[in-house]
């Protein structure tokens, strides 16, 4: 959908205005997003080395296993990570094909 | 309505539901869809986690609107669950696309495939494909149908005058629909009248019941007939003919000498109101204040000696003249209630030792006992009472002796635990020195306010003992010299499974709940009972008070054990269903009925001979092209679509709409056809 310059400008203005109104939550969420990105980077790094189970990733990254599981679950939901098989009592996860490159 | 003219116009949408895993855990739904996509006329074949969800239904709507789909086949749960759901989807989309909702076929992939072939996913998937292929073959030949719309009689018949029947009648009347209530016995109220105070709130049972009865009988839209039973039914939802047979009361308005008449009546019989613990005369009243405010003659026992006439005969008639009358009603509410379980002779010593009685009897005993400081039974002061739970309930097949009808009462009767503890509390209040032992398997005080009754009993020195279901206690005569005549031997798991002997002057059996005997009602209304003998609902969550027969709903303990609150709620819910059905003044019947092709019919009448339903198919003189001939004619409202006439017709002139012979042929051919070839799944 293409916007006219005018429309685009107006949108930006509204966004800015709403952002100002919600400064506090926006800042908090931004900080949260940063942490999320750091953790994701670590997890993805591990997965690029091949399919892994949660405790392996946790050990390699030093992240708590339950946090790793949560992020894997989130990435799986939005098709960034796929489950590739079972290894003993754990499932193995890998990067989804499209995101690997 | 633009309808496809040739096969070429048939555009089928096929949908395979995962059923939230119920189907997809066994059947490879994707493979099924892929196979079906290759078939002629199939325009789309899709899968979804749950087709019946709004999103799933939206798939169908979109395909109808955007892909010009004009036949829909869904493979999902049983048709009984969601066939209607999907027909409504088509009807909705059809408003824009002009599509008839009967251009739909439902294939049961859950009950017929995944649930029964759990161990064999590959074969299950093949079977699913075949069933779907058959459905598609049928869909190619579907034709638009119209439901039959008929006027509905805004009048309901409630069967049973216990709290459930009364509550249902009241709600229906308040909603503005006429009600007739028939009660088999001469008095209204059912079992609630036999209670004194009720859990959970300690309310006066007969006072609360009396208030309800007053409201019901005062309502201008309600007619009550006591001593009346249903003896015949014909017709269909919205338009049933009910035949009612009413015994005479023997006593009419203006009779004023009840006390004297009862005094002189020589016939004395056990009083059922007190569960046989007292007696009454052949002219009787259930309890003071019973409705109607007139005694009745007990025809089973009155020997017409005429003594009562000698007191003052005005208003008495000692001949029973049963009368029958017909009512035109739109719906039935079955509220025939329960009966307490009657233990077998010897079961926990019942009927062998006079000190063993049932909980209903105990409630009456307490009602009859005076204000004295001691509870007396058989002239003895009762010091130790043992209350035994689950008598006639929660029986285990293979462990407990089946009932005379071969059934094992394997259900929980739901009210006895709380009723027993409610009783224990009353006993404690009235007889502070009594020793009370409560012998149970589990204590099920589940309802709002029930746990308080349990806690109170425990705080009030009621002793609890606990047995295992397969090791029920024994009631035995006490050895000579014991102060109590009986003992209850129980392997008590609150004291490490030790065998304890509990002394008992009175043993109270918390007997369970059985449905009233209603075989006649079942066969008249063509409804059914479950394996627990209670009347069966269509589905506990989707249609919890409806039976499989349109226009027949259930209220109260006829359907299963319930306390008063639950019976009232169920009755009101039943009233709401009646209002849905009759409130609009018309009912819609499904079009799946027989249809006669008069070009082929030669009026042999074989169909009429085999049809089991009154006036469903008849021979009538029909004129066709100036010629008159006898032909079979179907009355859709009376036809159930069973198809017996189809098989009887020598000329293949009859079909059941929506299930024609040609459609069956096509389905059979599809079932026998080879499976579509697929690149094998990974």
């Amino acid at each position: 959908m293409t916007l006219t310059r005018e429309e685009a400008k107006q949108r930006t203005a509204i966004l800015k205005q709403v952002r100002d109104q919600h400064q506090e939550t926006v800042d908090r969420t931004r900080a949260r997003l940063k942490d999320q990105q750091t953790v994701r980077r670590q997890i993805c790094q591990q997965l690029r080395g091949g399919p892994k189970i949660v405790p392996e990733i946790a050990e390699a990254t030093g992240l708590p296993a339950h946090e790793v599981l949560w992020h894997i679950t989130a990435m799986k939901k939005y098709d960034l990570v796929v489950e590739v098989g079972q290894c003993g009592e754990y499932y193995q996860y890998a990067m989804a094909k499209e995101t690997e490159s | 309505m633009p309808e496809p003219r040739s096969n070429g116009d048939v555009r089928i949408g096929v949908y395979v539901c995962y059923c939230g895993g119920n189907i997809s855990d066994v059947v490879d739904c994707e493979q099924v869809a892929a196979a079906l996509r290759t078939l002629p006329n199939v325009v789309v074949a899709r899968t979804d986690m749950s087709m019946c969800s709004d999103a799933g239904q939206a798939l169908i709507e979109t395909d109808i609107l955007e892909h010009g789909i004009n036949r829909v086949v869904v493979g999902a749960c049983a048709p009984s669950l969601h066939e209607r759901t999907f027909r409504n989807t088509i009807a909705r989309a059809g408003l824009d696309a002009g599509l008839n909702p009967y251009l739909y076929h439902h294939v049961g992939l859950r009950e017929q495939v995944s649930w029964v072939h759990q161990g064999n996913p590959q074969k299950a998937t093949e079977k699913a494909i075949r069933l779907m292929m058959a459905g598609i073959a049928k869909a190619r030949m579907l034709e638009p149908l119209e439901p039959t719309v008929l006027d509905a009689e805004q009048h309901a018949l409630v069967i049973g005058g216990g709290v459930a029947g009364l509550r249902a009648a009241w709600d229906i009347a308040r909603r503005g629909i006429r009600v007739t209530l028939i009660e088999k016995s001469p008095f209204l109220g059912g079992h609630m009248a036999q209670l004194e105070t009720t859990f959970p709130a300690g309310e006066d049972a007969r006072a609360a019941l009396g208030d309800l009865i007053d409201q019901v009988v005062a309502h201008p839209l309600v007619t009550v007939h006591t001593r009346a039973e249903l003896t015949g039914v014909s017709g269909y939802v919205g338009n049933f003919q009910a035949q009612i047979t009413q015994q005479s009361r023997g006593v009419s308005q203006g009779f004023t000498h009840f006390a004297e008449a009862a005094e002189v009546c020589p016939v004395e019989v056990p009083d059922e109101f007190d569960y046989g613990m007292t007696t009454r005369k052949a002219i009787y009243r259930a309890y003071p204040g019973a409705y109607p405010d007139l005694p009745a003659i007990d025809w089973a026992h009155c020997d017409a000696c005429g003594k009562c006439l000698s007191v003052n005969g005005t208003g008495l008639d000692l001949e029973n003249k049963p009368a029958t009358f017909d009512l035109n009603v739109g719906a039935f509410v079955v509220a025939t209630g329960f009966r307490p379980y009657e233990p077998r002779r010897g079961e926990y010593g019942y009927d062998e030792h006079p000190e063993v009685i049932t909980l209903p009897q105990m409630i009456r005993l307490l009602a009859l006992a005076g204000d004295g400081p001691d509870l007396l039974w058989n002239g003895r002061t009762v010091k130790n009472v043992a209350l035994i739970h689950c008598v006639g309930s929660r029986e285990i097949p293979g462990v407990h002796e089946p009932q005379p009808d071969g059934q094992v009462n394997d259900y929980c009767s739901r009210v006895c635990c709380t009723a027993t503890l409610h009783l224990a509390t009353e006993l404690r209040e009235r007889y502070p020195h009594l020793n009370i032992f409560d012998i149970h398997e589990d204590i099920r005080t589940y309802g709002r306010g029930h746990e308080d009754i349990y806690t109170e009993a425990a705080a009030n020195r009621v002793g609890f003992l606990r047995f295992h279901g397969d090791e029920r206690p024994d009631v035995l005569p006490a050895p000579d010299g014991d102060s109590s005549p009986l003992l209850v031997r129980v392997k008590d798991y609150l004291t490490w499974g030790e065998e304890l002997d509990v002394p008992a002057d009175l043993v109270v059996l918390a007997t369970g709940i059985l449905p009233s005997p209603v075989d006649d009602i079942i066969s008249l209304l063509k409804i059914s009972a479950g394996t627990d003998r209670f009347l069966l609902e269509v589905h506990p969550k989707l249609q919890p008070v409806e039976t499989a027969v349109p226009g027949v709903v259930l209220a109260g303990t006829a359907q299963g054990p319930m306390n008063i609150q639950e019976a009232s709620a169920a009755a009101s819910a039943a009233a709401a269903k009646v209002a849905v059905l009759l409130g609009q003044g018309s009912v819609k019947l499904e079009p799946f009925v027989a249809r006669v092709n008069h070009a082929l019919c030669d009026g042999s009448g074989e169909c009429v001979a085999v049809c089991a339903y009154e006036d469903a198919i008849t021979l009538q003189t029909v004129s066709d092209n100036g010629q008159t001939a006898q032909k079979a004619v179907v009355t859709p409202a009376n036809c159930v679509g069973c198809g017996v006439c189809v098989s009887a017709c020598p000329n293949h002139a009859i079909d059941v709409q929506g299930w024609t012979l040609a459609q069956y042929d096509a389905m059979l051919d599809a079932l026998a056809a080879p499976l579509p070839v697929l690149e094998s799944a990974t």
């Binding site: 959908m1 754990y90 | 969800s53 709004d54 008070v545």
Partner: protein
């Protein structure tokens, strides 16, 4: 979006199974109904469940068609993501209700539910729907079977980057949306506001909600659901498939120390149900249920219990005194075995499920003038004969707002509340001499 003022016969508050059923039972009779739900989707707790006892139907097979029917019914006005703000009496009977439509920041008429916004949103949040085990985005369709299937933006967890707006193919996103107030006029009200669960931290003895592998039963529902977060039953601490699972019954009910003395009615059955489903999902796992009494009182429930026993699920009568955790985060249950000489033992499991209770949810006192009883649920003056009638004329109650109850009982009571409301409306329209007496008797 335009929000108009609404005139209906009955306002139903709460779109769980009870509220939906009351709305349908009235709408099918021809009454006009408005259903107001505070969340962005209807469905209540039931839509979160896996399969439901006693029939083991898949939960969405029962719930989603009802949700769809509510959304499409000609006589039902569905008001999601709305709060009731004030209620006044309407002259001549009935109520005038002020309702505020909370901003979704998405135009509900334009949104097609395509979820493209959700896919581009960079923020992952713990999903309340998945009991925090899974993730959702700041802008999202609430869950896969939500009704309406429309996105909404959780502005408190948004960085306002505008990516969703760029991605939306139909220009539905509107950051300038403001709360809008409108009025609903109704002749009667049905409260169907449901229940809450025992909070995770309620019992210090059970780890105060700190132990990762001690979860509540609603978490297990999500783990078992086909749409669940992991797609398998895994334990939350590390994703291990549990081998040994224990249920602690009455965790939050029949417990004086929590002030919850009543029985929550559903926990025995849902625990047995979950145990059965688990033995299907994890055929090798050992499943133990620690209980005080098994209360399978409903129609078909006792038979369900006996089947579970026959399947090999272990029922242990015992009081669980404490739950701790070993170094592998395995929960260790300290239990007094009542049938074994009250011996106290410690048993380690992979996962412990607390059969938490049903607590009162919304308190209708201040807004609706409906008082609550000692147990916190709506007061019902004549519970036996009129189980859905509150002390306030014209206001009725159903479902778990009227006390703990399962789905079947909620659906039945919903029908009863519909019948009461319909009768109330009819009697207001054609007053009968009885009415005054009835009112007096019930509300005395």
């Amino acid at each position: 979006m335009t929000v108009k003022n609404v005139h209906v016969d009955v306002l139903v508050v709460g779109g769980g199974i009870a509220g939906m059923q009351s709305a349908l039972d009235l709408a099918d009779q021809g009454y006009r109904v408005a259903l107001v739900e505070k969340e962005p989707s209807i469905g209540g707790k039931m839509i979160m469940l896996s399969k439901v006892f006693p029939t083991l139907d898949c939960c969405s097979c029962i719930t989603t068609p009802k949700m769809s029917a509510v959304a499409h019914h000609d006589n039902i006005e569905l008001l999601t993501y709305c709060d009731v703000q004030a209620i006044g009496d309407r002259p001549g009977g009935g109520f005038v209700i002020d309702v505020v439509q909370k901003p979704r920041y998405v135009d509900i008429d334009t949104c097609t539910g395509c979820r493209q916004c959700e896919y581009v949103c960079p923020i992952d949040l713990p999903s309340q729907f998945d009991r925090e085990l899974g993730a959702v985005r700041a802008i999202r369709v609430p869950f896969s079977t939500a009704v309406p299937q429309k996105a909404f933006l959780d502005i408190d967890n948004c960085i306002l980057c505008g990516k969703c707006q760029q991605a939306c193919p139909v220009e539905a996103i509107d950051f300038a949306q403001q709360p809008e107030t409108f009025t609903v006029e109704a002749g009667a009200i049905i409260l169907a506001t449901g229940f809450e669960l025992t909070p995770a931290g309620a019992k210090a003895e059970y780890g105060a909600g700190e132990l990762l592998n001690v979860v509540d039963a609603l978490v297990m529902e999500r783990l078992l659901a086909p749409t669940g977060p992991y797609g398998h039953v895994l334990r939350p601490s590390d994703g291990k498939e549990p081998d040994s699972i224990a249920y602690v019954q009455c965790a939050g009910s029949r417990d004086k120390t929590l002030g919850v003395e009543y029985c929550s009615r559903v926990c025995c059955m849902y625990a047995i149900k979950q145990a059965m489903l688990l033995s299907g999902a994890l055929p090798l796992a050992d499943i133990t249920i620690y209980y005080m009494d098994i209360r399978t009182f409903g129609k078909g429930h006792e038979q369900f219990y006996q089947n579970a026993k026959a399947m090999g699920i272990e029922f242990v009568k015992g009081k669980v005194a404490r739950i701790t955790e070993d170094e592998d985060k395995n929960p260790v249950v300290r239990v007094e075995l009542i049938e074994d000489g009250s011996k106290v033992v410690e048993r380690a499991h992979d996962l412990v499920v607390l059969s938490v209770g049903m607590l009162p949810g919304y308190n209708p006192k201040s807004l609706y003038g409906v008082p609550v009883a000692d147990d916190g649920f709506a007061a019902i003056p004549a519970p036996n004969i009129r189980p859905s009638v509150t002390p306030k004329p014209g206001i009725f109650v159903t479902g778990a707002a009227a006390g703990p109850m399962d789905i079947v009982d909620s659906i039945v009571l919903a029908g009863a509340a519909a019948a009461e409301a319909a009768a109330y409306l009819e009697e207001v329209r054609t007053p009968s001499p009885q009415r005054a007496a009835i009112e007096e008797a019930v509300h005395a």
